[in-house]
């Protein structure tokens, strides 16, 4: 019989079940009547004939049932019936059902949310064409590459189909009413084509559009188009003003398009990059390279080729390339690498929470199945096979698990929405891509099914091992079998061990967060606000921009809620970090590749006092340090200690090759205390500060980060200042207004998120474990209430009886604690990369966590035991 006709007959059968059953009934009845007739014909009385026929027949209903079971659709009919029955059973005990669905929901929800994040960020391929062949090429230190090196890699390598470069860029998009800074990239003309992403409208760059003299063109992101340009349907072909130039829009990239994926991730505008003036430049390392491997080539082969070229360049150009090798990394790896350990840890802990939840459910079902022994026995007695009953139990659990899965997916969805609101913008790679997807739903479904079956089968196997006669006897106590005790002990052990492991992980990450939060920034972040201010296109000379920034600074400082205001080129902890080489005049020239360099900052007067960065020697910049006065410089403590250990260098000089200005000698006028500028936990970098008022002409800065100390609530001050500034300078763009506390907290988002999530997971684990232990003990104590009553009645002291009961219940708890500690010792090593200021085997964490969990366990045991022991002995004797 073909599959189709089989399916058709199945459908027919399910549709016409009632009529077919009638038909069958008539047919069997006919047969029976015919036999009766035959016996009558043989001379029996009608009654006797019926009796004989019935004996021979063995029950017409039984025969009908056998026919039904032989039919194809039988399994479906049973399942449907079991499902209805299961629904009724669960509905009748709403307390149990709600608890089970909630517990399972939490477990499945945690696992689904974590899996969503892991899948969306780590597993899902990047949204470019054949992303598995895309690599990024950087220096061996992971930094950007110089234009000349890029051109050499491109010329000399054979392993790539294409190799393109990108450089950070951005500009203020000015429309009639508003100016807004938009981050972007300059890319070599072939970049977008190499990525293989089609524009939503218009076209990509042509090959010659990054050549000198080409018309200025721009690609814009879907977001910018919709939000800033009002979704103008005729935008392609029009020009928009970005910064000081006008660009013709040639295309709109599709929604969700992100490039670059691991740095400058917020880029929304892209222009071709004319490199012609820098083809010989090996010092200005500003390019990140992206390349597509030839089909069939491995990253290792490409790496060997590129590092080979890099080695040759190092020999040819020792002045610039000494110690600069290259790294070739799969793009996906580069994007996800930094958060891989964190996400893996989250997924692991979420799975642990799920396991604990399942353990609890198994426990609940076990207790229930004991209560249902009589029901089972009745069903066995009237002919149900063990398989049927097991099947019925499985259906019930799967139904429960499905409800749990629905609850879990809702929880996970809520949790992810919450997460996306709390994460700082663009902190987690591919943050925008985190979404529930079919894969995640499939995962939740599989997890629910597995959880349902696993938790069902243990107790069901136990429960169906029923001695029918025993269970049916009216007065017999539904005694617990030895196997059940062992199973319960095992479940408690597992719960305790898992909870301990989670607690240790949570403890370690919380201590990490505490140590990180305790790191001194070197400045006072309280009541400090900051915002990035971009000059408008009208301010087209550095003279005009200087005037504009002066007006903004004055406007800020004159506000009643502001104490004092100043500005810096790159805000500590959030802005860029630019290094510049320097030399100490009068000392021998350093070896190539070993030139000392330091981070440079350009600040307006009063910066140090606004930030409350103390000056250890000398003075800070004053308005008198202006264009044309003696060139001055302030260096930080680290640079001073590095070059002039033990000496006060105020009054000495430093030679710095300033970008567009004359290479100059600067006189050191002050030593500033160290402050954290970029790396939160590493060593403090060497730094020097230059006065903006003296240097603005050389740097051509078009934006400054203003900082201001407020009198009162910084959040409130922040809300009012933006409007005040616009009053003096309407067409400036202001971005990233924030309190400094917020900037610092964003810097610590990763450890904070890890600590918070692990803390929540561990909390859930402890509650579930406590409830689980409580349930087991309460149950066993209640079972033994009679025994306890008798012992007390016979003169045993309560303490002795309690000890007896406790001993039995404490053993699995302590076993769990020991296993948990050992497991934690073995596994927390993997956390090392996520920890700071605390060792992976930190004694304090282990000890406090173990003590805490022991306390919870003992409480969970003591409460039910104490209740029974306190109770009326006679009453407990009378139970049952």
């Amino acid at each position: 019989m073909s599959l189709i006709s089989r399916a058709a007959s199945l459908l027919r059968r399910l549709a016409h079940r009632r009529r077919m059953d009638d038909d069958l009934h008539r047919e069997v009845q006919d047969y029976f009547n015919a036999m009766v007739d035959r016996y009558v014909a043989q001379g029996l009385s009608r009654d006797e004939a019926r009796r004989q026929a019935r004996l021979r027949f063995g029950g017409t209903m039984h025969v009908e049932q056998e026919v039904r079971e032989a039919r194809t659709g039988f399994a479906f009919e049973t399942a449907a019936r079991d499902l209805r029955y299961a629904g009724r059973v669960l509905w009748k005990s709403p307390g149990f059902t709600a608890t089970a669905i909630l517990v399972l929901g939490i477990g499945i929800g945690a696992a689904s949310a974590a899996f969503t994040a892991v899948y969306s960020v780590l597993l899902q391929p990047l949204h470019y064409r054949q992303p598995e062949r895309l690599v990024t090429i950087l220096t061996s230190a992971g930094g950007p590459v110089s234009p000349a090196d890029y051109l050499d890699y491109r010329k000399q390598s054979a392993d790539f189909e294409a190799m393109e470069a990108a450089q950070a860029w951005g500009g203020v998009i000015e429309t009639a009413d508003r100016a807004e800074f938009t981050p972007g990239l300059q890319v070599s003309a072939g970049m977008m084509a190499m990525l293989g992403v089609r524009p939503e409208r218009g076209r990509l760059f042509r090959g010659d559009e990054d050549q000198p003299g080409a018309q200025p063109v721009i690609l814009i992101g879907h977001e910018v188009w919709k939000r800033r340009l009002g979704g103008d349907p005729f935008i392609v072909g029009r020009t928009i003003r970005v910064g000081r130039r006008r660009y013709t829009v040639i295309g709109i990239m599709p929604p969700g398009f992100q490039f670059a994926p691991f740095w400058q991730t917020e880029a929304q505008i892209w222009i071709p990059f004319d490199m012609s003036s820098r083809v010989e430049d090996r010092f200005g390392r500003s390019l990140r390279l992206f390349a597509r491997l030839r089909p069939g080539l491995s990253v290792e082969q490409a790496r060997a080729e590129i590092t080979g070229i890099a080695a040759r360049l190092e020999k040819l150009y020792p002045a610039s390339n000494t110690g600069v090798s290259a790294s070739v990394t799969l793009l996906q790896e580069k994007v996800t690498g930094p958060v891989r350990p964190m996400l893996a840890l989250l997924l692991a802990t979420a799975v642990f929470v799920l396991l604990i939840a399942c353990t609890n459910i198994a426990n609940l079902l076990l207790s229930r199945s004991v209560g249902r022994r009589r029901e089972i026995a009745v069903r066995v007695a009237i002919g149900a096979t063990r398989r049927r009953i097991l099947f019925q139990f499985a259906v019930e659990s799967v139904l429960l698990a499905t409800a749990g899965a629905v609850a879990g997916i809702l929880l996970a969805w809520r949790a992810l929405v919450l997460l996306s609101h709390t994460l700082p913008v663009a902190s987690l790679p591919r943050q925008g891509e985190i979404a529930m997807q079919p894969w995640v739903l499939a995962f939740a479904g599989v997890v629910a099914l597995a959880a349902g079956l696993l938790t069902a089968l243990f107790p069901a196997f136990e429960a169906t091992r029923v001695d029918v006669n025993e269970a049916l006897k009216d007065g017999s106590r539904a005694s617990t079998s030895r196997g059940q005790f062992r199973l319960r002990g095992f479940l408690v052990t597992a719960e305790v061990a898992l909870a301990l492991l989670l607690l240790v992980c949570a403890g370690l990450t919380i201590r990490t967060l505490l140590s990180l939060s305790a790191v001194k920034t070197g400045f006072d972040s309280s009541r400090l606000i900051t915002m990035q201010v971009f000059a408008s296109s009208g301010s087209d000379t550095s003279e005009k921009r200087n005037g504009l920034f002066q007006r903004v600074n004055d406007a800020l400082a004159s506000l009643p809620e502001i104490e004092q205001a100043s500005a810096i080129n790159h805000l500590p902890l959030s802005g860029d970090v630019w290094n510049y080489d320097y030399r100490v005049p009068g000392r021998p020239a350093p070896q190539p590749g070993h030139e000392p360099s330091a981070i440079y900052r350009v600040v307006r007067p009063g910066y140090f006092s606004v930030m409350k960065i103390p000056l250890l020697h000398g003075r800070e910049f004053s308005p008198a340090d202006r264009l044309g006065s003696m060139p001055v410089i302030v260096i930080n403590e680290a640079l001073a200690a590095h070059q002039w250990p033990g000496v006060n260098p105020v009054g000495r000089s430093l030679y710095v090759n300033v970008a567009n200005g004359e290479p100059g000698v600067f006189t050191i006028v002050g030593i500033a205390a160290n402050s954290r500028q970029s790396d939160w936990t590493g060593d403090v970098d060497d730094e020097f500060y230059l006065p903006y008022l003296q240097q603005y002409a050389s740097w051509g800065l078009a934006d400054l980060a203003f900082v201001a100390r407020t009198h009162g609530d910084p959040q409130a001050a922040l809300a009012s200042t933006e409007g005040q500034i616009r009053r003096v300078a309407p067409m400036i763009a202001i971005s990233k207004p924030a309190t400094m506390e917020q900037v610092i907290s964003d810097k610590l988002w990763r450890p904070r998120l890890t600590a918070v999530l692990l803390g929540v997971f561990a909390g859930i684990a402890v509650i579930l474990a406590g409830v689980g232990i409580y349930g087991v003990v309460a149950y066993s104590v209640q079972r033994r209430a009679q025994e306890i009553g008798i012992r007390i009645a016979l003169g045993a002291t309560r303490a002795k009886v309690l000890g007896l009961v406790l001993r039995g219940d404490l053993i699995p708890v302590f076993t769990g604690l020991v296993i948990g500690v050992v497991a934690a010792l073995l596994t927390t090593r993997w956390l090392a990369s996520l920890l700071y200021g605390v060792k992976a085997n930190d004694l304090f964490t282990f000890a406090s966590v173990t003590a805490g969990l022991t306390f919870v366990a003992i409480a969970a045991i003591a409460i039910p035991v104490w209740r029974v022991a306190r109770g009326d002995v006679l009453a407990s004797l009378r139970t049952e």
């Binding site: 019989m1 006709s5 007959s9 069958l24 008539r26 047919e27 069997v28 006919d30 047969y31 029976f32 009547n33 015919a34 036999m35 035959r38 021979r56 027949f57 063995g58 039984h62 025969v63 009908e64 056998e66 026919v67 079971e69 032989a70 039919r71 194809t72």
Partner: protein, 109 residues
Amino acid sequence: MAKPVELLQGTLDLLILRTLELRPSHGVGIADRIEQVTKGVFVVGPGSLFPALHRLAEKGWIEGRWTESDAGRRVKVYLLTRTGRAQLAEQKRSWRKVLTAMGQALSEA
């Protein structure tokens, strides 16, 4: 009848088909006929007959029709379909093969 059930499964189907090859028949008739031709070796109770009949009908090898019996009672009569006939021929062949093979195997020993 605890042990030979497995053997019976295929045999019973074959016997029903063979019975219906001669002429259409109702349940009682089929049971009587089988008992008769096997000289009482196989006594087919309704408990195994009906599931077998419905299984065969489901496969499309036989077909049941409600008709009037000689005594004027409505009875369900089964008849062999074309596919059932082909099946019967096929099964007869394979049975003979099995019998010959078994006979040889047992006599060689």
